[in-house]
């Protein structure tokens, strides 16, 4: 069990390297977009990792509300932090890709807007956790995560309808896709899933270790107080 983490880390590193090779070397250059299209191999897998991590946060938050399990809270925090990082990558790589290819930095289409709203909700979540003076911060944060999750379908429907009323040219690829590109894409998808899980796992371990140290220090002071009586 102790070595599971190391094995997983090595596997992830291998997958990422292989994915890098596939994305930058093996996959052919796209006809219309050129080299910049290769961002696709990182943009979409990052989004996938971010959304998975936000989902993990939701599940962990609900689990905490029901069971008040400390590990659930640590996992929720880890998933939120790493999810925000991946989400930031999506929001940065998106405009970098869109500008040379479609001539615009940003558009309020469904995917991008949903990503931005999720990013905003979870940054607010992290700020709440940081600024909270309550002893029940995990509970309050979990409540916010649930509110955020309830919001997501509403965001989806509102943007979807908005775009049907105000249609715009679609951005983000279309047409047939070369099988080598598909291969590179799936490798990177799996690699980023593993990468996201790995970073979240290590953040979780760090958080648990941090809390254990705090508890141990506090317990020592209780022992001292008891011994001195």
């Amino acid at each position: 069990m102790k070595y599971l983490f190391t094995i997983f880390a090595v596997l992830t590193a291998v997958l990422l390297s292989y994915g890098l090779y596939q994305a930058l070397v093996v996959a052919p250059t796209e006809q219309t977009m050129g080299e910049v299209q290769r961002i696709f191999y990182y943009h979409v897998p990052s989004a996938w990792a971010a959304f998975c991590l936000f989902f993990v946060n939701l599940v962990a938050s609900i689990w905490y509300m029901v069971r008040r399990n400390r590990k659930a809270d640590a996992l929720a925090l880890a998933a939120a932090e790493v999810g925000v990082v991946f989400c930031t990558i999506v929001l940065v790589t998106g405009p970098l890709w869109a500008r040379p290819v479609w001539g615009i930095w940003w558009t309020w289409d469904l995917r991008l807007t949903l990503t931005l709203v999720l990013w905003l909700i979870y940054v607010a979540y992290l700020i709440l956790r940081k600024f909270s003076t309550s002893g029940q911060t995990p509970v309050i944060a979990a409540v916010l995560a649930i509110f955020g999750a309830l919001d997501v379908p509403l965001v989806y429907f509102s943007i979807w309808f908005f775009r049907t009323q105000h249609p715009q040219p679609v951005v983000g690829g279309g047409g047939s896709i070369d099988p080598r590109m598909l291969h590179a894409f799936f490798i990177n998808l799996i690699a980023f899933s593993c990468f996201g899980a790995l970073v979240c796992w290590s953040r979780y371990r760090f958080e648990m270790a941090h809390r254990d140290v705090e508890d141990r220090q506090a317990l020592e002071s209780i022992m001292e107080a008891g011994a001195s009586r």
Partner: protein, 224 residues
């Protein structure tokens, strides 16, 4: 013990206290007025253009005015730690939440009632679509802001930088409601398309978050 009676008693108590310390109301009304004037200076469109953008302008202005009002929702309960008296009692937390939300709703509606005629004047607004739908949109939209605003204001009680925490939490979650309010208002003003979908979305939003707030408020109230 009737919880409706308690909600009503709490609401009346809040309104009475608000009336007695009138300075808060006065400065907020003046702030609302200033917001309208500033927006009118910043965006000075023709009559045609104004119908397109007025929906967005008006609701953003309402949002800022609402945040100022929402921020002091719980301030009164923090003075002398009155909130502890509520927490210690067997009174149901939802009665307190509903009373606060309704009080905020009344308060924000008063602000909107002041700001709307001014906007109509400054922008020469006239609804080309079914104007009777506008009050419906106003009520649903205001409740959407107020119900979450009251809830997040309670969450912000136990944070540093309480005043900035409220908009930080409120704005992202309110995005679908804001879009709906703005689009509904714009569609009614321009008469170009139907506001029906947006009104339905607002109803769904209001129902969902009112239920969520009522279910989860006790956790927030009893958090230390």
């Amino acid at each position: 013990m009737s919880s409706d009676g308690l909600t009503r008693a709490t609401l009346i108590k809040d309104l009475r206290l608000e009336w007695r310390s009138k300075d808060a109301i006065n400065s907020m009304l003046f702030f609302a007025l200033l917001v309208v004037v500033i927006f009118s200076f910043a965006f000075d469109p023709t009559a045609e253009e104004s119908r397109q953008i007025a929906g967005g302008l008006v609701w953003v202005a309402f949002l800022f005015a609402a945040v100022v009002a929402l921020n002091q929702t719980w301030a009164r309960e923090l003075r002398n730690q009155v909130l502890d008296a509520y927490r210690v009692s067997p009174a149901p937390p939802n009665s307190l939440f509903l009373a606060k939300a309704l009080g905020n709703f009344i308060f924000v509606t008063v602000l909107e009632a002041l700001m709307t005629p001014l906007f109509i004047v400054f922008y020469n607004l006239r609804a080309l679509g079914p104007a009777w739908q506008l009050p419906i949109v106003a009520v649903l939209g205001t409740w959407a802001l107020v119900v979450n605003g009251t809830f997040f204001a309670a969450m912000s009680l136990r944070t540093r930088s309480r005043e900035i925490m409220l908009p930080l939490l409120l704005f992202p979650i309110s995005i679908p409601a804001l879009l709906a309010m703005v689009e509904a208002t714009t569609s009614i003003l321009t008469g170009e398309y139907s506001a029906k979908f947006w009104i339905v979305l607002l109803v769904a939003y209001d129902l969902l978050f009112t239920m969520a707030s009522l279910l989860l408020f006790s956790f927030v109230l009893h958090a230390e």
